[in-house]
Subunit: 235 residues, 3 copies
Amino acid sequence: MDSILDLLQSISTALTTLEKSKCRGMILTSDNPSVFSAGLDILEMYKPDPTRVKDFWTTLQDTWIKLYTTSFPTVAVINGHSPAGGCLLALSCEYRIIVGPKNTIGLNETKLGIIAPRWFQDSMRNVIGERQAELALTTGKMFTADEALKVNLVDEVVASKDEATGRAIAFLSQFAKIPPLPRKMTKLEFREATVNWLVNNKEKDLQIFLSYINQPKVQEGLGMYLESLKKKSAK
Amino acid sequence: MDSILDLLQSISTALTTLEKSKCRGMILTSDNPSVFSAGLDILEMYKPDPTRVKDFWTTLQDTWIKLYTTSFPTVAVINGHSPAGGCLLALSCEYRIIVGPKNTIGLNETKLGIIAPRWFQDSMRNVIGERQAELALTTGKMFTADEALKVNLVDEVVASKDEATGRAIAFLSQFAKIPPLPRKMTKLEFREATVNWLVNNKEKDLQIFLSYINQPKVQEGLGMYLESLKKKSAK
Amino acid sequence: MDSILDLLQSISTALTTLEKSKCRGMILTSDNPSVFSAGLDILEMYKPDPTRVKDFWTTLQDTWIKLYTTSFPTVAVINGHSPAGGCLLALSCEYRIIVGPKNTIGLNETKLGIIAPRWFQDSMRNVIGERQAELALTTGKMFTADEALKVNLVDEVVASKDEATGRAIAFLSQFAKIPPLPRKMTKLEFREATVNWLVNNKEKDLQIFLSYINQPKVQEGLGMYLESLKKKSAK
């Protein structure tokens, strides 16, 4: 399996390419049948190499900025568990379809002993509102597909990836007759305040992240979490 | 039929008169059985006379500012299709009752190749929340009565205009025992930030609107849309 | 019965003590079987002694600031009617469980001829959203348990105080495995903007309150309201 850094770099490059093309819509999904994208970012944070972890975080920042503000419509087809960074990417799309009933989604950072930074928080707040976002983030909640639908964290729950893809195409098809320019400008007006915070605070956000994860207690917590994952997968 | 400019001027004058009276409540509705108010603003934007279109937009700005901040409670009885400006006026009232099941409501600007300006966006965001507003505005969605109820774009769906009027009076009646001053001050505190943006940016907002609609491509799009409306009504 | 000022001072002292301890969770409830805490603040506002009313308001400000930003999780078990200040305290917790079906909850200030100040408004807006908060506050609505659940003003409706306590403990138990530091920091990031307004405007907020309630018309209204309460309880 490629590292999460490799994966983020691929997504970032793909977004730049699509932006230059006349792309009219994109489906973000995973070819891994059990995990939707960036769930294992934690491996990048445990006993990190200083250069690599910095590279990881700035790549995540840049990828998010691009994905959050694409000129073309975006749909996440969530066909596996989608914690942390995977949830962030899904939240950044314009529409979310999850393959139920077993897959889960959420920003579970507090459970790992870390903090979802402000742009993670805002991405979730913009989708499920202030109240549900505070509750989800303080409890580090992983939502089942049905729970996610109930608070509008996802827009649809379907039974298979094929069905999800069909629904995603249906969502994108409604833009066929809508002129791209006013659509894009409307989207950017909605997302401007959220994205500008990170654009204007990239270095500060990086320093907050680095100084937080480098605390001995946080490293210890991440170590214990990774240990518990190993035990689970050994069963 | 009077022009939309005439209609807006009538509403604006009526609001000023009511504000000076001891009005304790207002129902905004239409005597046209199929269209709720300002839906055809597009006629003012296509091949516009420079003086008249400026007059149209500033009148819409002024009417909205007055309606959004009336000291007395307001209810929209939506008894016909309510696109664009009609939806804006309904969103500016304190309560919305739609006569179902056939009437539709929404800010469909992107479908016409234009952009709902910031105060339109905020008016919708304040009613249905960030997530549903972004989805509605980027897709230019016209909601059926039931869809509108589901996202709280309207508060009630009823079967006839008479029933709607009865429900509107019931809504207004609950204010009979509430002192008008604290009620008004509470309303204005909620709406202050939204309305102040336009109050402080009227000229800028006008220039954005004028420069946008005067683009050849936008005019072409409006022309095609009007053509399609003619064909529909000829059937 | 102790005065509301005494009650607020007790809560404030308890919060300071808990903050210094290693408290991992708190349930806010009332041992009065019919009223949940601060509902009768109005007695402090009618024909007020200048020193005492100032003391009352600053104590309410300080108590709210502490409760809104506790480092440990908080649950309100609402086992009686919860108007005005009682509703504010419940809104400031992280989770709300009401004993139904008869108890009611709401910010009914406009009905008393007074205005819920900005931090009351924000506390409600952060829980039920802009639209429902405006409607609730302009109408001074007291929600039944079921109505409160429908707009998410409470998270659960249960049949008895015992059941409510059990559910509150279940809510708090989910934090057993969550490290307190990232949890607290996540909560504070969500609540920072709301609480900072009052922290930075305590004196201004006090002056607005004092000058408002000292108006003869407002005093007259409060007098009439207290008279009507007496008649009710005499029945």
